[in-house]
Symmetry: C2
Subunit: 132 residues, 2 copies
Protein backbone atom coordinates (compact mmCIF):
# COMPACT_ATOMS: atom_id res chain seq x y z
CA UNK A 1 0.00 0.00 0.00
CA UNK A 2 2.64 2.48 1.05
CA UNK A 3 5.03 1.10 -1.57
CA UNK A 4 2.50 2.08 -4.20
CA UNK A 5 2.09 5.60 -2.85
CA UNK A 6 5.86 5.98 -2.57
CA UNK A 7 6.33 4.85 -6.15
CA UNK A 8 3.58 7.20 -7.28
CA UNK A 9 5.24 10.17 -5.58
CA UNK A 10 8.71 9.31 -6.87
CA UNK A 11 7.45 8.80 -10.40
CA UNK A 12 5.72 12.16 -10.14
CA UNK A 13 8.94 13.91 -9.13
CA UNK A 14 10.86 12.29 -11.98
CA UNK A 15 8.31 13.23 -14.62
CA UNK A 16 7.73 16.70 -13.21
CA UNK A 17 11.45 17.40 -13.33
CA UNK A 18 11.55 16.38 -16.99
CA UNK A 19 8.58 18.63 -17.70
CA UNK A 20 10.15 21.56 -15.85
CA UNK A 21 13.54 21.26 -17.49
CA UNK A 22 12.31 20.62 -21.01
CA UNK A 23 9.81 23.48 -20.82
CA UNK A 24 12.56 25.76 -19.50
CA UNK A 25 14.64 25.05 -22.60
CA UNK A 26 11.79 26.62 -24.57
CA UNK A 27 11.57 29.49 -22.06
CA UNK A 28 8.34 28.10 -20.66
CA UNK A 29 7.32 27.26 -17.11
CA UNK A 30 5.19 24.19 -16.45
CA UNK A 31 2.28 26.53 -15.76
CA UNK A 32 2.70 28.37 -19.06
CA UNK A 33 2.91 24.97 -20.75
CA UNK A 34 -0.35 23.87 -19.17
CA UNK A 35 -1.98 27.16 -20.11
CA UNK A 36 -1.00 26.78 -23.77
CA UNK A 37 -2.04 23.13 -23.65
CA UNK A 38 -5.50 24.15 -22.44
CA UNK A 39 -5.89 26.65 -25.26
CA UNK A 40 -5.17 24.14 -27.99
CA UNK A 41 -8.84 23.26 -28.36
CA UNK A 42 -10.61 25.92 -26.29
CA UNK A 43 -11.05 29.68 -25.81
CA UNK A 44 -11.88 29.74 -22.11
CA UNK A 45 -12.64 32.61 -19.78
CA UNK A 46 -10.14 33.64 -17.12
CA UNK A 47 -12.34 31.96 -14.52
CA UNK A 48 -12.42 28.71 -16.50
CA UNK A 49 -8.63 28.72 -16.73
CA UNK A 50 -8.41 29.22 -12.98
CA UNK A 51 -10.70 26.23 -12.45
CA UNK A 52 -8.80 23.98 -14.84
CA UNK A 53 -5.37 24.84 -13.42
CA UNK A 54 -6.56 25.00 -9.80
CA UNK A 55 -5.31 28.58 -9.44
CA UNK A 56 -6.69 31.79 -8.00
CA UNK A 57 -8.10 34.21 -10.54
CA UNK A 58 -5.45 36.76 -9.65
CA UNK A 59 -2.74 34.20 -10.46
CA UNK A 60 -4.30 33.66 -13.86
CA UNK A 61 -4.27 37.41 -14.52
CA UNK A 62 -0.50 37.48 -14.11
CA UNK A 63 -0.05 34.26 -16.04
CA UNK A 64 -2.00 35.56 -19.03
CA UNK A 65 -0.29 38.96 -18.74
CA UNK A 66 3.11 37.36 -19.22
CA UNK A 67 1.97 35.06 -22.03
CA UNK A 68 0.26 37.98 -23.77
CA UNK A 69 3.38 40.15 -23.47
CA UNK A 70 5.27 37.39 -25.27
CA UNK A 71 2.65 37.23 -28.00
CA UNK A 72 1.60 33.68 -27.15
CA UNK A 73 -2.05 34.37 -26.25
CA UNK A 74 -4.61 37.13 -26.80
CA UNK A 75 -7.45 38.48 -24.65
CA UNK A 76 -10.89 39.38 -26.00
CA UNK A 77 -14.16 40.39 -24.38
CA UNK A 78 -17.03 37.91 -24.53
CA UNK A 79 -19.86 39.09 -26.83
CA UNK A 80 -22.35 37.51 -24.41
CA UNK A 81 -21.17 39.06 -21.15
CA UNK A 82 -18.97 42.14 -21.02
CA UNK A 83 -17.55 41.05 -17.67
CA UNK A 84 -15.98 37.96 -19.22
CA UNK A 85 -12.51 37.92 -20.80
CA UNK A 86 -11.81 35.10 -23.25
CA UNK A 87 -8.28 33.88 -23.88
CA UNK A 88 -7.11 32.40 -27.19
CA UNK A 89 -3.77 31.10 -28.40
CA UNK A 90 -1.89 32.93 -31.18
CA UNK A 91 -0.05 31.24 -34.06
CA UNK A 92 3.22 31.86 -32.19
CA UNK A 93 1.74 30.18 -29.10
CA UNK A 94 0.53 27.25 -31.15
CA UNK A 95 3.95 26.78 -32.72
CA UNK A 96 5.64 26.92 -29.34
CA UNK A 97 3.32 24.46 -27.63
CA UNK A 98 3.68 22.01 -30.52
CA UNK A 99 7.45 22.17 -30.37
CA UNK A 100 7.51 21.95 -26.58
CA UNK A 101 5.14 19.01 -26.41
CA UNK A 102 7.07 17.14 -29.09
CA UNK A 103 10.27 17.62 -27.11
CA UNK A 104 8.61 16.54 -23.87
CA UNK A 105 7.16 13.45 -25.51
CA UNK A 106 10.60 12.57 -26.78
CA UNK A 107 12.18 13.00 -23.33
CA UNK A 108 9.47 11.02 -21.59
CA UNK A 109 9.82 8.27 -24.17
CA UNK A 110 13.53 8.15 -23.31
CA UNK A 111 12.82 8.19 -19.57
CA UNK A 112 10.42 5.27 -19.89
CA UNK A 113 12.17 3.32 -22.62
CA UNK A 114 12.52 0.26 -20.37
CA UNK A 115 8.87 0.05 -19.32
CA UNK A 116 7.13 -3.14 -20.46
CA UNK A 117 4.07 -2.88 -22.78
CA UNK A 118 1.73 -4.45 -20.21
CA UNK A 119 2.88 -1.95 -17.60
CA UNK A 120 2.24 0.93 -20.01
CA UNK A 121 -1.32 -0.24 -20.43
CA UNK A 122 -1.65 -0.52 -16.66
CA UNK A 123 -0.48 3.04 -16.13
CA UNK A 124 -3.07 4.30 -18.58
CA UNK A 125 -5.71 2.52 -16.49
CA UNK A 126 -4.29 4.08 -13.32
CA UNK A 127 -4.65 7.52 -14.86
CA UNK A 128 -8.24 6.77 -15.80
CA UNK A 129 -9.03 5.62 -12.26
CA UNK A 130 -7.89 8.96 -10.85
CA UNK A 131 -10.49 11.67 -10.52
CA UNK A 132 -8.88 14.88 -11.61
Amino acid sequence: MTAFVDALAELTFAVHDVLTRTAAEHDLSVTQLRLLGLLRDRTPSMAAIATHLHLDRSSVSGLVDRAEARGLVARSTSPDDARVTLVSVTPAGTALIRQGLAEITHRLDDLTANVAPDDRAALIRVRQSVTY
Copy 2:
Protein backbone atom coordinates in the same frame (compact mmCIF):
# COMPACT_ATOMS: atom_id res chain seq x y z
CA MET B 1 2.86 5.21 -27.34
CA THR B 2 1.64 8.78 -27.08
CA ALA B 3 -1.35 7.64 -25.03
CA PHE B 4 1.10 6.33 -22.45
CA VAL B 5 3.09 9.56 -22.35
CA ASP B 6 -0.13 11.60 -22.13
CA ALA B 7 -1.37 9.46 -19.26
CA LEU B 8 2.00 9.77 -17.54
CA ALA B 9 1.91 13.58 -17.79
CA GLU B 10 -1.70 13.83 -16.64
CA LEU B 11 -1.12 11.50 -13.71
CA THR B 12 1.90 13.61 -12.79
CA PHE B 13 -0.16 16.81 -12.73
CA ALA B 14 -2.85 15.18 -10.58
CA VAL B 15 -0.40 13.82 -8.03
CA HIS B 16 1.72 16.95 -8.01
CA ASP B 17 -1.34 19.06 -7.28
CA VAL B 18 -2.20 16.83 -4.32
CA LEU B 19 1.37 17.12 -3.05
CA THR B 20 1.37 20.91 -3.46
CA ARG B 21 -1.96 21.45 -1.75
CA THR B 22 -1.43 19.01 1.10
CA ALA B 23 2.04 20.36 1.81
CA ALA B 24 0.63 23.90 1.75
CA GLU B 25 -1.81 22.99 4.53
CA HIS B 26 1.25 22.30 6.67
CA ASP B 27 2.88 25.54 5.48
CA LEU B 28 5.32 23.58 3.34
CA SER B 29 6.18 23.85 -0.34
CA VAL B 30 6.88 20.72 -2.35
CA THR B 31 10.55 21.70 -2.38
CA GLN B 32 10.68 22.10 1.41
CA LEU B 33 8.93 18.74 1.68
CA ARG B 34 11.54 17.11 -0.53
CA LEU B 35 14.33 18.75 1.45
CA LEU B 36 12.99 17.42 4.75
CA GLY B 37 12.41 14.03 3.15
CA LEU B 38 16.06 13.92 2.08
CA LEU B 39 17.23 14.70 5.60
CA ARG B 40 15.30 11.86 7.21
CA ASP B 41 18.22 9.48 6.84
CA ARG B 42 21.12 11.74 5.79
CA THR B 43 23.12 14.83 6.76
CA PRO B 44 24.17 15.99 3.31
CA SER B 45 26.26 18.93 2.20
CA MET B 46 24.67 21.87 0.40
CA ALA B 47 26.14 20.59 -2.85
CA ALA B 48 24.71 17.11 -2.27
CA ILE B 49 21.27 18.60 -1.70
CA ALA B 50 21.58 20.56 -4.92
CA THR B 51 22.44 17.35 -6.78
CA HIS B 52 19.57 15.36 -5.27
CA LEU B 53 16.96 18.05 -5.91
CA HIS B 54 18.41 19.10 -9.29
CA LEU B 55 18.80 22.70 -8.11
CA ASP B 56 21.50 25.32 -8.35
CA ARG B 57 23.60 25.72 -5.21
CA SER B 58 22.35 29.28 -4.80
CA SER B 59 18.77 28.01 -4.77
CA VAL B 60 19.66 25.57 -2.01
CA SER B 61 21.16 28.41 0.04
CA GLY B 62 17.81 30.20 0.07
CA LEU B 63 15.89 26.99 0.65
CA VAL B 64 17.97 26.08 3.69
CA ASP B 65 17.86 29.69 4.92
CA ARG B 66 14.08 29.61 5.07
CA ALA B 67 13.91 26.16 6.65
CA GLU B 68 16.55 27.15 9.21
CA ALA B 69 14.67 30.36 10.07
CA ARG B 70 11.66 28.17 10.86
CA GLY B 71 13.74 25.86 13.04
CA LEU B 72 13.26 22.85 10.78
CA VAL B 73 16.91 22.25 9.86
CA ALA B 74 20.36 23.24 11.17
CA ARG B 75 23.66 24.00 9.44
CA SER B 76 27.04 22.79 10.69
CA THR B 77 30.56 22.91 9.28
CA SER B 78 32.08 19.61 8.17
CA PRO B 79 34.95 18.49 10.44
CA ASP B 80 36.72 17.10 7.38
CA ASP B 81 36.56 20.13 5.10
CA ALA B 82 35.90 23.64 6.37
CA ARG B 83 34.41 24.65 3.02
CA VAL B 84 31.56 22.17 3.40
CA THR B 85 28.31 22.96 5.21
CA LEU B 86 26.30 19.97 6.43
CA VAL B 87 22.53 20.18 6.89
CA SER B 88 20.60 18.16 9.46
CA VAL B 89 16.94 18.01 10.41
CA THR B 90 15.77 19.20 13.84
CA PRO B 91 13.16 17.46 16.03
CA ALA B 92 10.63 20.05 14.86
CA GLY B 93 11.53 19.27 11.25
CA THR B 94 11.20 15.54 11.87
CA ALA B 95 7.78 15.98 13.45
CA LEU B 96 6.58 18.13 10.57
CA ILE B 97 7.77 15.81 7.82
CA ARG B 98 6.18 12.80 9.54
CA GLN B 99 2.86 14.57 9.85
CA GLY B 100 3.04 15.91 6.30
CA LEU B 101 3.92 12.58 4.75
CA ALA B 102 1.17 10.81 6.66
CA GLU B 103 -1.35 13.31 5.37
CA ILE B 104 -0.05 13.03 1.81
CA THR B 105 -0.19 9.23 1.94
CA HIS B 106 -3.78 9.48 3.09
CA ARG B 107 -4.72 11.85 0.26
CA LEU B 108 -2.98 9.78 -2.37
CA ASP B 109 -4.69 6.67 -1.04
CA ASP B 110 -7.99 8.47 -1.53
CA LEU B 111 -7.02 9.69 -4.99
CA THR B 112 -6.13 6.16 -6.09
CA ALA B 113 -8.78 4.22 -4.20
CA ASN B 114 -10.19 2.75 -7.41
CA VAL B 115 -6.90 1.45 -8.82
CA ALA B 116 -6.78 -2.35 -9.21
CA PRO B 117 -4.13 -4.32 -7.25
CA ASP B 118 -2.44 -5.58 -10.42
CA ASP B 119 -2.18 -2.04 -11.73
CA ARG B 120 -0.62 -0.90 -8.45
CA ALA B 121 2.07 -3.53 -8.86
CA ALA B 122 2.60 -2.42 -12.45
CA LEU B 123 3.09 1.22 -11.43
CA ILE B 124 5.74 0.17 -8.93
CA ARG B 125 7.56 -1.58 -11.79
CA VAL B 126 7.23 1.54 -13.95
CA ARG B 127 8.85 3.61 -11.24
CA GLN B 128 11.69 1.09 -10.97
CA SER B 129 12.25 1.21 -14.73
CA VAL B 130 12.77 4.96 -14.60
CA THR B 131 16.29 6.21 -14.06
CA TYR B 132 16.08 9.09 -11.64
